[in-house]
Amino acid sequence: MDRSSVESFIREAFASYYHNNTVQSPIAIERREFGFLLFKERMMVRHKTFHIEKDLRSFIESTAPSDVYYSAAYYERPDEDMSRKGWLGADLIFDIDVDHINTPCRVKHAYWICKKCGEIGGGDPPSKCSKCEGEHFREEIWPCKTCMEITKTETRKLIGFLTDDFGFSSSEIKVFFSGHRGYHVHIENEGIGRLDQLARKEIVDYILGTGLKPELHELHETKSGMVVGPDPNDKGWRGKIARGIYDFLASATSRDLEKFKGVERRALEKIINNRDAFMEAWGRASWQDIRGVGIKTWEKISKYALQEQGASIDTVVTTDIHRLIRMPTTLHGKTGFKVVEIPVEDLEDFDPFSGAIAFKGDSMAIYVNWADRFEVRDMVYGPYKKERVKLPQAAAMFLLCKGVAEPTE
């Protein structure tokens, strides 16, 4: 079966999903631009507007798009060209995606699809396709639970920043599973809506710790040569730096020393050897008791420590004030999962491979070209290679959307 027939099959399934389920439109629907990626010719339709939710719903139901987006921005004339839209403001959006986090296991999940013949294989792409000798490949990463747990940890860190540092209430923070490999966080707040790109860049830098100078957070040397620094109980970056150094002290091995090129080895060895005494002093937030390690060394350690404290958000999504973002409650064309809101307090226990299932129908037979192991609704499937299998609809739709399988007649 060729790809376009597979896509019409998926489209049918999406259409029936949208017929039986209601999507939820964003607030201020009339001020937003909508965009739809259509199955047909993978075409993107942009600059669409809807005045009422009902029209949006019937549009989605009748076209059954692969993916549905709306603008984070509010416009005076959302249906016009970019230059004539009249920007009024935009929600503050964060995207945390496996794509830009170097998770330890991502190399294990790499796979490729030949652009010419559609052949699929695990690992890095070969120089020539074994089937058609094509030389161009699409490189993909298979979604995995470990990676998703890491994005969840980063999302929790982000929420910590938003509540503790930025002072947003938990009712202003909306967390969504993206439907694929990460989480989206939306903040709809009137004050923040007017902030321009430069201001949003400052927010991004704050959350990533970019451009942070430890000496501007109280880490300095007094005139008498004593090193003084922030307190683990401090709010903001001060506490994060202090806690980050503590975490480093607690876990650093002599191998970690090699990460600190250009720092006196002796100072670091002193830290490792006197770890207990240092950590005890830390508990009392008493820098005075920590002697024999110079300010330069502490600066290097704190810079290392702050990398662990920042949250790995995508820098472009947050700073782009015209961005189209995936609409909650719609389906993701690459998985068949739906974009679901997760109450902040439920994030800990959320499992995207069972909490975002849209297709709950009976088993169906499909032919799988290639698939790594995966989990859907607490069941483990795969790996598969060029075989016919019978799977519950959710698992089957997942493989079809991933482009690694086709329905059998």
Partner: protein, 353 residues
């Protein structure tokens, strides 16, 4: 707290000052009356001080009425010159005056009053709020409306002490932020044209101001950008992008944008850039042409784009690390110009030696 008449004379951009003037119900034609000569003189002086010294002066015992009323008249004068140079310079000079006075105000409450009533800022005094000693706590949103245009690292949000949505500030820092917002307020009043007929005294003042601008502006010369491409003068970020590009490695969208806009801004034509790109890679020529033309401002909104500044490149992970020249500049194009000057000086030295 309520601002006194002395306060609104010091800070004529406040809502209180605007209300005071409005209640006087002055019309432009009233200014023909010689009683107003003192005020007109002070208004002209404000503008001249702005042109000559970049700051509006303040003496310790002024006539408060003259100070308050001369401000809107200065605005009329600046608008009448129709000089965009003066509009910018005057707003800045009023802001500098405000800064000089605000930073030495004895009462913290006065700064809070100005920021909250004139600008609607969410601000409070911060005594005892933290272990550290700060004077004020300002909502991070209001902070970000002004601070990103300041270049020193201490103004970056990531280097501020922030808790529960508030950025903690010293008095001098809040004074700077208020004066920045004051500048924007003055700028907003400097939009449009004066349609009313001006009385002779005002026309005369505007004439002498225009003269002063001409003599002053001659001292300002625009920096020319050279029209040849000198690869040795590329900053490290552009070099890195250029290399990944030519070795066919994938570059992020923003990376491509940076490289393209850089090349266009150092004098390459759209055709040159397209040729450079398509010959080195297997890019689709038409698509590349479209994108390059867009960045050059020949499509879409017509904006000609410049590359992002260094800080933005850092945010997006495109800064490979700074060299000595980088430390002196904030923008890849500034790097290029500076390096070019150095290289040229070097070449001349070699030749003559």
């Amino acid at each position: 707290m309520v601002l006194s008449k002395a306060d609104i004379a010091k800070y004529p951009f406040t809502v209180e000052a605007a209300r005071y003037v409005k209640d006087l119900d002055l019309r432009i034609e009233d200014l023909a009356n010689r009683d107003y000569d003192g005020i007109i003189n002070r208004a002209r002086e404000r503008v001249e001080e702005a042109i000559l010294y970049g700051v509006v002066g303040w003496n310790e015992a002024p006539n408060y009425d003259v100070e308050i009323i001369s401000f809107p008249i200065s605005i009329v004068m600046v608008l009448s010159t129709e000089s965009s140079f003066l509009r910018k310079r005057y707003a800045l000079a009023e802001a500098k005056k405000a800064y000089n006075l605000l930073r030495v105000e004895k009462e913290d409450e006065k700064l809070v009053e100005i920021a909250s009533s004139s600008f609607n800022w969410d601000i409070k005094t911060a005594v005892g709020a933290t272990r550290q000693t700060y004077d004020f706590a300002l909502s991070f949103i209001n902070y970000l409306e002004n601070a990103p245009s300041f270049h020193d690292y201490k103004w970056k949000l990531v280097n501020r002490f922030m808790a529960d949505g508030y950025v903690f500030l010293m008095k001098d820092e809040l004074a700077r932020l208020i004066s920045e917002e004051a500048m924007k307020h003055v700028q907003k009043r400097l939009v449009g044209k004066i349609r009313a007929e001006l009385p002779p005294t005002l026309i005369q003042a505007v004439g002498s101001i225009t003269q002063l601008i001409v003599t002053q502006q001659e001292t300002i010369q625009a920096e020319e950008t050279p029209q040849v491409m000198v690869e040795e003068a590329y900053p490290p970020c552009i070099r890195a992008l250029n290399e990944s590009f030519h070795s066919n490695q994938s570059i992020s969208h923003i990376g491509r944008f940076t490289l393209t806009s850089f090349l266009l801004n150092i004098g390459l034509s759209v055709e040159d850039v397209v040729k450079l790109f398509t010959s080195a890679t297997d890019f689709d020529k038409n698509l590349t042409k479209y994108q390059v033309e867009h960045i050059a401002g020949k499509r879409g909104s017509g904006t000609k784009y410049t590359p992002p500044k260094c800080e933005t490149l850092k945010t997006h992970g495109l800064c490979p690390g700074m060299d000595d020249v980088c430390k002196m500049v904030k923008h890849p194009l500034a790097y290029y110009r500076r390096k070019l000057r150095q290289t040229k000086a070097g070449t001349v030295a070699v030749k003559s030696g």
